[in-house]
């Protein structure tokens, strides 16, 4: 039973990864690509981590996997912010609220 659950989660994760990559290739401009893929690949990794954690069945490994996911979430959110800021800065000058 857990095997199937893990498999289904991993499969769903793969779909998100593929969706992210296709979005990266197909979407028209940088901001929409940023919007789409920072969600897609993080959800994809989350589902993959969930599937692998269930499969491993060992709480220590599961915790390490979740830690990897949380780190990727944080880094990718900040990276997306920095990249969008740089692009905006280049296009319209410094931002002074």
């Amino acid at each position: 039973m857990t095997e199937y659950l893990a498999g289904a989660l991993i499969l769903a994760g793969l779909l998100f990864f593929i969706a992210g990559s296709i979005g990266l290739l197909r979407l028209p401009d940088m901001y929409s690509r940023l919007h789409a893929l920072t969600k897609a690949d993080n959800v994809g990794l989350g589902l993959l981590v969930a599937g692998l954690a269930i499969r491993a069945g060992d709480p220590l490994t599961a915790m390490k996997l979740v830690l990897v996911w949380v780190l990727v979430l944080g880094s990718s959110a900040v990276s997306a912010h920095l990249i969008a800021q740089r692009a905006r800065h280049r296009e319209r000058g410094a931002w002074n609220p």
């Binding site: 095997e3 498999g7 991993i10 499969l11 994760g13 793969l14 990864f17 593929i18 992210g20 990559s21 296709i22 990266l24 290739l25 940088m30 690509r33 940023l34 893929l37 920072t38 690949d41 993080n42 994809g44 990794l45 993959l48 981590v49 692998l52 499969r55 491993a56 490994t61 390490k64 996997l65 830690l67 990897v68 780190l71 990727v72 944080g74 880094s75 990718s76 900040v78 990276s79 997306a80 920095l82 990249i83 969008a84 800021q85 740089r86 692009a87 800065h89 280049r90 410094a94 002074n96």
Partner: protein
């Protein structure tokens, strides 16, 4: 199950290859760096699959290090040293 994981790894590798196309094509540096981020995340996923596939628990450690370092190069790209142009406000 191992066969399923292996095919999953192939799918992730293909997804990674698709992401690389955007790294090649850009057009802007931001586009490339964004795509490199996706390649990094996909690479982390691939490493997590390598752990059970190759029987190497240290593969997850490598994924952890990649995740820890993911933001460093993006930050180095986007932050500018004082005294350089673009920094005068």
């Amino acid at each position: 199950m191992v066969g399923f994981l292996l095919v999953s790894a192939l799918v992730l590798a293909i997804s990674l290859g698709l992401g690389l196309v955007r790294v090649f094509n850009g057009p802007s540096t931001e586009d490339r760096m964004l795509a490199a981020q996706l390649v990094g995340t996909t690479g982390v996923g691939l490493l997590l699959l390598f752990d059970p596939l190759l029987g190497m628990p240290s593969s997850t450690d490598v994924a952890l290090v990649l995740a820890l370092l993911a933001a460093v190069s993006v930050a180095a790209l986007t932050r500018r040293e004082t005294g350089l142009e673009m920094d005068h406000d």
